[in-house]
């Protein structure tokens, strides 16, 4: 199948301005023959794929981050520059640059093409979304444009079947007799060179593109409402409310299904395997460990469904526009809004979503504060303690006291996140200017089912692969700590009390005593590191209550008799801040590419948790709740 002409497989690099439909074209060309990985040493996502041309030649394509210029200004754009210039040692030199442009918005793309010509590699310009341009009455003289630019130009409709046929034939022709690369003469253009290039681009466009007398104004009309100073914000918040509802309620049936599936699997393992260490490992270590993470997949996918739809629609840039000023007050970038929102479901997709923030510092701040958002795993812990200790009375005859405490815990998370980002920005990084908010607002486009589905599939795969492997090893470690050494045969206490976890808990207890925690809480915090809600089951275990999660009300009853209100409140406040989630820490390590930022997150959250719980405990004791 693979042609031997042209020294084996041909390697293309896909470049283009943001919103040029580059990813859609990449999807259309490579289908599901895609691989998502990271570039070595950086957290920029490397998407590559392969296609077979009509005549049977194999071409590999790498999809580069969108950019307006090769003057790299973010880690993403540095990758684009280095791959295009062939400076990345680990990366194959591209044989051809495939430059993608949105046919309805060519000004900036043509300037980029003029800059790319200095790279000295063979190049082809793909006028994507030609159907939309034609429908709007835009006429493009492709041949004349090709002559003016000095590179082959071909039109395409990435999202339509057969929309890339002409492109594929052109690729075939180019691969068959492709010109050699010449030495590059690229240097970062000066303002004068940029001006000249933009003027040249404008001249070419005037000569080759005829715009309709009456421009399409659907986007303008939609924006009149969606970007209205007040109505726009209201619509954004309604949208967010629906998204929250979806994440918490639509995903629930599926989550129940997954969790009962894993329970059944655990029971099966329990019944088939002989009692002992192997049974415990398979049932408690592997099955319930992996299950407790996979159970969040429906929530994560629901969230990503919304994010992908809004992104494809072109709304995401608008959300950043509407929120920029509000977020800016706390030292966050407008684009940090969506990742932080996602973190209410789970910090893991939230942290993964910070990739949309191009500045490294802004992205890091967002990653650092994302775990402070109240994630869904805290809910079981909050519910248990609140229902056991906070009386179900009404405040002012209207609000339930329990609801108010819950609301206070959420608000505590949000305000501490804003506070931490404020401190990070204006105290630690005040000398490092973050780039200003400058963003193209693309025209609205109807999302395509296929591209959304493909996006969801890639996210699900990445979540299961990435988080799965790290989380799995953490789970095994925690199971080991909670199971060894094993309880003696004549044990009177629950087995966990003989384990390393109990030993760690006892060792931690003197440190945690000032915040009002007894040794049982300290022990429960250790397995709670795997996932916050595991602490509930662990408390059940240390207080020898049978039935685990189902017995939540029973646990609450016992706790109400054993803890003081001050201890309970201190534990609630502890949970707002404490870095009680090994998987989040693992994802931070992955996304920042360094152990340092994982340690920083762990350290600052633990410090905050300790101080806040200490203050809460002592204030509560002073007020007579001890």
């Amino acid at each position: 199948m693979i042609s031997t002409t042209g020294a084996g497989a041909c390697h293309f690099a896909l470049v283009g301005t943001p919103n040029s439909g580059k990813t859609a074209l990449f999807n259309a060309l490579t289908g599901n023959r895609q691989k998502v990985a990271n570039y070595p040493g950086v957290t920029v996502e490397r998407k590559s794929g392969a296609l077979i041309t009509p005549s049977g030649r194999k071409v590999t394509i790498v999809d580069l981050p969108g950019t307006y210029s090769l003057r790299a200004r973010s880690p993403d754009e540095e990758i684009t520059r280095d791959v295009v210039l062939g400076r990345l040692a680990a990366e194959t030199q591209p044989d051809l640059l495939l430059c993608v442009a949105d046919s309805t918005n060519l000004r900036l793309a043509i300037r980029l093409v003029l800059e790319l010509k200095h790279v000295g590699r063979p190049m082809m310009l793909v006028l994507n979304m030609i159907d939309i341009a034609n429908k709007r009455g835009v006429e493009i003289d492709v041949e004349k444009m090709s002559a003016a630019l000095g590179v082959p130009v071909v039109t395409a409709v990435a999202i339509r079947r057969g929309g890339t046929d002409a492109l594929l034939h052109q690729i075939d022709e180019l691969v068959a007799n492709r010109p050699e690369s010449v030495a590059h003469s690229w240097h970062a253009p000066s303002t004068a060179e940029l001006r000249t290039a933009q003027r040249e681009a404008d001249t070419i466009l005037r000569a080759t593109v005829k715009n309709p007398p009456k421009p399409d104004n659907l986007t303008t009309r939609l924006d009149a409402v969606l970007l209205h100073p007040l109505a726009g914000l209201v619509i954004l918040f309604v949208l967010l409310f629906v998204m929250f509802q979806a994440v918490f309620s639509w995903a629930q049936p599926l989550m129940n299904l997954i969790s009962s599936g894993f329970d059944a699997l655990g029971a099966l393992a329990h019944n088939t395997l002989p009692a002992g260490i192997l049974q415990s490992f398979i049932q408690n270590g592997v099955i319930s460990g992996v299950g407790s993470v996979i159970v969040f997949l429906p929530q994560i996918l629901t969230l990503f469904l919304f994010i992908l739809l809004l992104e494809d629609l072109g709304y995401m840039a608008r959300a950043a526009f509407l929120m920029d000023r509000i977020m800016g007050g706390a030292g966050l970038h407008g684009r940090a809004f969506i990742p932080l929102l996602s973190s209410f479901a789970c910090a893991i997709p939230g942290i993964m979503a910070t990739r949309v923030i191009d500045n490294k510092r802004d992205r890091l701040t967002t990653i650092l504060v994302a775990p402070l958002m109240t994630c869904s795993a805290r809910i079981p812990v909050y519910t248990l303690i609140i229902s056991a200790f906070v009386p179900a009375t009404k405040v002012c005859g209207l609000f339930s006291l329990q609801g108010l405490v819950m609301f206070g815990l959420y608000a505590g998370g949000i305000f501490s996140a804003l506070g931490v980002s404020f401190v990070a920005k204006y105290v630690f990084w005040r000398n490092e200017p973050s780039p200003p908010f400058m963003l193209e607002l693309p025209d609205y486009k109807l999302p395509r089912l296929k591209s959304v589905a493909l996006g969801l599939y890639t996210r699900a795969k990445a979540f299961l692969q990435r988080a799965g492997t790290t989380i799995f090893s953490m789970m095994v470690l925690i199971w080991f700590l909670a199971s060894f050494p094993q309880a003696p045969a004549n044990a009177t206490e629950p087995p966990i009390n003989y384990s390393i976890a109990a030993w760690v808990g006892h060792a931690m207890q003197p440190v945690l005593a000032p915040v009002g925690f007894n040794w049982q809480i300290s022990v429960a915090l250790v397995p709670g590191m795997a996932a916050r809600e595991v602490a509930v089951a662990a408390l059940g275990t240390v207080y020898s209550i049978e039935g685990g999660k189902q017995a939540a009300s029973a646990i609450g009853h016992v706790l109400a008799g054993k803890w003081s209100l001050a201890t309970a409140l201190a534990l609630l406040v502890w949970y707002i801040f404490a870095p009680q989630c090994a998987s989040t820490l693992a994802v931070i390590r992955r996304e920042t590419g360094s152990w340092k930022w994982m340690a920083v997150t762990f350290g600052y959250m633990l410090t905050l948790a300790y101080i806040a719980a200490f203050a809460t405990f002592h204030i509560a004791v002073a007020m007579g709740a001890g």
Partner: protein, 94 residues
């Protein structure tokens, strides 16, 4: 030079960062001072040009945010760019 450009010279040019929604005009110059933005004047100028803000382009302010009328959404030929008023001060329009 045509009469148009003479009129341009007579009119006082003003920064885009002070204009209100509905304003429509032509870019006369991109002039950033060192304290216009956190970026250096040269870098800000390059970024503005890369987003299509060059002399002669037609700009129109379409929208603004609710707090401090910031940021603004500007139509530059047939693209819409969002930016803060602070950076838009470097775009002089007539």
């Amino acid at each position: 030079m045509s009469r148009d450009s003479q009129i341009v010279k007579i009119q006082t040019r003003s920064p885009l960062g002070r204009a209100l929604p509905g304003f429509r005009g032509r870019i006369d110059a991109i002039q950033a001072a060192e304290d216009t933005s956190v970026l250096s004047a040269d870098e800000l100028e390059r970024r503005l040009i890369e987003l299509g803000f060059v002399e002669g382009a037609i700009v129109e302010i379409l929208h603004e945010g609710i707090f401090g009328r910031d940021p603004i959404a500007v139509r530059v030929d047939n693209a819409t760019i969002a930016l803060r008023r602070r950076e838009a001060m470097a775009v002089l329009v007539t």
